[in-house]
Amino acid sequence: MLVLSDVKKTYRQGTQALAGVNLSLGPGEIVGLFGENGAGKTTLMKCILGLLRYEGEITLDGAPITPKNIARLSFATCEHSFFPALTAAGHRDFYREHFPTFRNKRFAALMDFFQLPLNKTIRSFSAGQKNQFEVILALSQGADYILMDEPFAGNDIFNREDFYKVLLGILEPNETILLSTHLLEEVQHFIGRAVLLHQGVVAGDMTTSQLEDEGRSLMDYVKEIYHYQSDRVSRALDQLTDQKE
């Protein structure tokens, strides 16, 4: 169980990115992390991974996250974390050496699924291929908790949809996914739980089965939490039209 208790993060320039996040992620959950730009999604993931200092407590099965258990977490980020001068095969070997639970079979299958070349440096990959490779590494590391931050920014919809289907087929019961994305409608049938961040705190947390029981869509829930004003477009257009006159 990954538990975050009152996690706060204030950057040096004074911006408060997280204002006391409380969240628990259990084994086997597929959780969507949503929020507007600047809501703190990326900061939250970096705090979990120890890439940023924070206040509060983050534990993995009761123990703080240290180099001893960090291998139980993997990270796919749109900023990318691979070595550009290494080939895909070089990454596979590197990960094998550092992560004893590396999933060779899954790596090969996903490389094949995305049709990525094994012996070309990642630098020479297209932007979409780089995203795909980042995700492949995160899924193949053998981690229990897989954090994905906008992993498919820049990929076409067919690749994304197919990937979600493949992912559902390959995930093992103990693997937990925390997926940060803006693509609500795409992932609503893939995730089992939606966590909504707003101004650095958890503003909403609901399972998709709860939503189904209540007859609400994920989009409705998000709009409700963020107090979405459906008439904002027409009001803005009215104002702009007035200005022109």
Binding site: Y11, R12, L49, G50, L51, L52, R53, P67, K68, I70, A71, L73, S74, F75, T77, E79, H80, S81, F82, F83, P84, A85, L86, G90, F94, E97, H98, I122, R123, K130
Partner: protein
């Protein structure tokens, strides 16, 4: 230790071949300049080895090559299109120790650069001495040139252990400076010591004042800076983001 060596391998892949290419390139340019100066020399007054080295401006080529090698050694820290620090900091290796070992790896590559320049100059000297008029050279010519030419003395200090220590500590401090540059960049910080150190090393290498005190002073300063790097790489910093 195996995990550390493995963690160093992506950096090694990025720097080893480039260092070798720069070293060989610098050696080729030095050879070309050496032969250019030699070909223009009047036969009436045969040149001496140290004059050829000085007039060929071989030390400038060495300095330029050294700066290029330092440029190659900081490539693992540039993170072009990828934040490799996110991966390095998720490994079970201690990042401070990793950076120190990367500094040692860099120092070894700088020693390789030094060795290749030395071999190149010894081959050029050997060629010159074997083709020169026997009346103008002796078996002592190379030995004497090593004490007369500041550049040749820097490359091959012979019994001058003070210069040898200066060079070795210079390689170590430059290697650590390159590693510290990469380390601090991964953490979003700046490390401004590399450039001045590289310039001092490049300019100071062929300077020989004939006084061991200066060489020993340089060695002590270099070792103190190494100590600073050791502390800055293994210490805890408040400005992690």
């Amino acid at each position: 230790m195996k995990a550390y060596l493995s963690a160093l391998s992506p950096a090694a892949r990025l720097t080893v071949w480039k260092t070798l290419l720069i070293s060989l390139g610098a050696a080729v340019v030095q050879a070309a300049l050496f032969f250019l100066v030699l070909s223009r020399w009047s036969e009436a007054s045969p040149p001496i080895l140290e004059t050829l080295i000085r007039n060929g401006r071989l030390s400038l080529v060495f300095a330029a090559g050294l700066l290029l090698v330092c440029g190659a050694l900081v490539l693992p820290g540039w993170d072009r299109g990828s934040k490799t620090g996110y991966t390095l900091r998720r490994l079970s290796v201690n990042e401070g120790k990793f950076s120190l070992l990367l500094g040692v790896q860099n120092a070894l590559l700088l020693l390789v650069y030094w060795a290749i320049q030395l071999i190149a100059l010894l081959l050029l000297s050997e060629y010159f001495l074997s083709t020169a008029d026997p009346a103008t050279v002796s078996h002592q010519s190379l030995f004497l040139a090593c004490y007369r030419s500041p550049y040749l003395h820097g490359l091959l200090p012979l019994a001058d252990w003070a210069v040898l220590l200066r060079n070795l500590s210079g390689c170590l401090v430059l290697g650590l400076a390159c590693s510290a540059f990469c380390h601090h960049r991964r953490h979003g910080r700046k490390s401004g010591l590399l450039l001045p150190l590289a310039v001092v090393a490049a300019v100071g290498f062929p300077v020989y004042a004939g006084n061991p005190f200066l060489s020993l002073s340089s060695t002590i300063i270099f070792l103190l800076i190494c100590l600073y790097f050791w502390k800055s790489l293994t210490g805890v910093h408040e400005d992690e983001d």
